[in-house]
Subunit: 157 residues, 2 copies
DNA sequence: TATATGGTATACAGACTTGTCAATTATTGT
DNA sequence: ACAATAATTGACAAGTCTGTATACCATATA
C-alpha cells in the first residue's frame, strides 16, 4: 500500500528506480573522473578503470537499463524507451569525454566503447566474476590509442 | 496440449527453442565462413561481415541466449545455465577461428570480439537499426589487426 | 491530549500463467 | 475402410500478479 501510495503503478515504480540508479551511477562515475585526474585525455583513458571498479564491486547487480530493455523489449513501452534514452545518454557522456580529449571521431569511439561496456556488463550478468571487463579494458585502451593517434596525425600534418 | 505433449513443461520448451535457434545460427555462420573464404586469417576478418548481415536482416529477432539470460538472471536456473554455455561456446568458436589464423592470444581476442558482438546485439535489441554493428565491425578489424601484428612480430624476431 | 497525516496489515477482485483432464476430430499405416 | 495414433478444443484448477478497499496503528504537530 505504501508503495502504491508513492508510485501509483508498478511501471511508475520501475521508471523511478531506473532514473535513480542511473543518476547514482552517473554521479559516482562523474565524481571519480573529476576528482582523480586532470587532463581530458587522461579521463577517457581512466574511464574503464572506474567501470572495472564498479563492475567488480560486490554490490554490483547489473545495469538497470540493460536489464529493463531486455525485460520490456517492445520499443513502444515507456520503460524500454527510458532504457534506450539512458543508454544513449551514457554513450553521449562518453562522447563528451572523447570530444574534450580532442579525439576526431568522438562519437564513433564513444559508440565502440559503449559496445564494449554493455558487452562486459552483459557478460558479468551472465556469469559473475567472468573477468570480461579486463579484456574490455584492454580493447578500450587499444581503441582509444588508435583514435588519439588518428587525431594527432591529422592535426600534425 | 500438443505443446505440452512434446515438451512437457514451459522450461523444456524454452530450452529446446534455445538449442534449435543456436544450432541454426551456428550452422548458418559456419556455412558462410566455409563456403565464402579460404585462408583462416581471412575467415576471422570476415566474421563481422556475416554477423552484420545477420543482425541487419529483417528477420533478426535478437540473440536467444542474451534475452534468456536476462529473463532468467538466477545462475542456478537451467535456462540461464544453457544461455551461459551457449555464450561460452560461441566465444570458443571465435577462439578456434583466431587460433587457426595463428593469432597469439586467440582466447583473449575471442573474448574481446564476443564483447563487441554481444554489445552490438544488445544495442540492436534496444533500438532496431541502431547501426551499432557498423562500429563494432570497425573496432573488430582494429582488434584483429592488432592481434595479427602481435603474432607476426613475435614469430618474426 | 486531540487531531491529522502517513504507515501497516488483511482481505479481496480480476486477470493471467502453467498446467491437467476429457471429449472430439484428423491423420496415418495397414 | 479400420484401427491406432496424434492433434485440437474447451473446461477447469491452483497459484501468481497487479491493484483496491478498509480497518488499524504510529507519529507529529497544534
Amino acid at each position: 500500500m505504501t508503495l502504491y501510495k508513492h508510485f501509483h503503478t508498478k511501471e511508475g515504480l520501475i521508471l523511478e528506480v531506473l532514473k535513480k540508479s542511473q543518476q547514482d551511477f552517473q554521479n559516482w562515475l562523474d565524481n571519480k573522473l573529476s576528482s582523480n585526474s586532470k587532463a581530458p585525455a587522461d579521463k577517457i583513458k581512466q574511464l574503464f578503470d572506474f567501470i572495472e571498479e564498479w563492475i567488480t564491486s560486490p554490490s554490483f547487480l547489473g545495469m538497470g537499463f540493460i536489464k529493463a530493455s531486455a525485460e520490456f523489449p517492445n520499443e513502444e513501452n515507456p520503460i524500454h524507451q527510458l532504457s534506450s534514452k539512458q543508454s544513449r545518454e551514457f554513450r553521449q557522456y562518453i562522447g563528451k569525454l572523447a570530444g574534450e580529449a580532442n579525439i576526431k571521431d568522438a562519437d564513433g569511439l564513444a559508440l565502440q566503447l559503449s559496445l564494449l561496456f554493455e558487452g562486459a556488463v552483459q557478460a558479468e550478468q551472465m556469469k559473475r566474476g567472468s573477468g570480461a571487463i579486463k579484456y574490455a579494458k584492454k580493447a578500450a585502451k587499444l581503441l582509444i590509442d588508435g583514435a588519439i593517434n588518428k587525431q594527432v596525425l591529422t592535426t600534425d600534418f
